[in-house]
């Protein structure tokens, strides 16, 4: 779907990081933040956010945008409740492009790699747009990134379950309604959709990030 509209694959892949990715402009960021606030049950649309939405869109467009978000919520919640399986509509164009890209794409995404070192991974930071995270390796649904925020942690909730393994640095971690102190070697789990961030952290903070499983996360059994 996205590829048919001419959305670069890199942009689709960076959607979880829209708040910090240089691939997204200010208007897209506020629209997606608005979508998050409407969709996530622990968020709300406050006056400040609504004013920023107004700043990016005229009032008629705000009505359209709000309806798009509300209607997609209706549709996707119907699909989730009914257990409607994915038909891979987004991935079709993406896979074709990956095949055309060949070996170079494999190296970029880490597909096929079985080991990563902290030294090699941190060499990828910051990215060309100043990114503080980079994909290191992946297999199936599993994706490993290196993440080293500096100053503040601007991340937004992710759409899949996530593990952090702290390599270096210590601080506080806001994890939904909970708050943890953390240090090197600690493992932090964040269920999909839960707001979280590192706070009051040392400037040597480096963590492995592992995303896995389906969009929306897994149910605890």
């Amino acid at each position: 779907m996205g590829s048919e509209l001419g959305i670069p694959n890199e942009k689709i892949l960076a959607l979880e990081e829209y708040a910090t990715s240089p691939l997204y402009d200010d208007q897209e960021r506020v629209a997606l933040e608005y979508a998050d606030a409407i969709t996530l049950s622990d968020r709300d649309v406050d006056e400040g956010l609504f004013e920023r939405v107004r700043g990016g869109f005229d009032e008629d467009a705000v009505v359209e945008l709000t309806t798009v978000i509300a209607w997609e919520n209706s549709s996707s919640k119907f699909n989730r409740a009914m257990g409607v399986p994915s038909q891979g509509l987004w991935k079709r164009g993406w896979i074709k492009t990956r095949r055309r890209n060949g070996v170079g794409d494999e190296a970029r995404t880490g597909t096929g790699m079985r080991k990563a070192t902290v030294a090699e991974a941190t060499e990828r930071l910051p990215g060309p747009g100043g990114e503080r995270s980079a994909k290191v390796l992946g297999h199936g649904s599993m994706e490993v990134k290196i993440y080293a925020p500096r100053g503040t942690d601007p991340q937004t909730p992710h759409t899949r379950d996530e593990l952090y393994v702290v390599v270096s640095g210590s601080g506080e971690f806001a994890n939904g309604p909970e708050r943890h102190s953390f240090g090197p070697g600690d493992v932090l789990f964040v269920p999909a959709g839960v707001e979280h961030r590192f706070e009051d952290f040392a400037d040597n903070l480096v963590v492995w990030v592992v995303f896995y499983g389906p969009e929306g996360g897994e149910v605890d059994s």
Binding site: D58, S75, S76, M82
Partner: protein
């Protein structure tokens, strides 16, 4: 397999069948949620009307709409 089986497109009423066939031409198969909506034709028509209304309103860049839809669907655990 969804929790509730969708309709057989060949047995759907004419206008619904036409929509499902158009989806098959575009995507290779009818959209699975539409096969379920089609169990209740009035709901199917209402759903299609909403999508059509959004598609023809046209104030937003379709690429932005696609990204917003993708984000919302993912947050809701729905990958289409």
């Amino acid at each position: 397999m969804a929790r509730i089986e969708g309709v057989d497109p060949g047995r759907a009423e004419k206008r619904i069948r036409a929509v499902l066939e158009a989806q098959a031409d575009k995507w290779g198969a009818p959209l699975l949620n539409h096969l379920i909506y089609a169990r209740r034709p009035s709901i199917f028509r209402g759903v299609r009307g909403m999508w059509a209304g959004l598609d023809t309103s046209g104030l937003l860049d379709p690429r932005l709409v696609a990204l917003v839809n993708r984000r919302v669907a993912a947050l809701n655990g729905c990958v289409f």
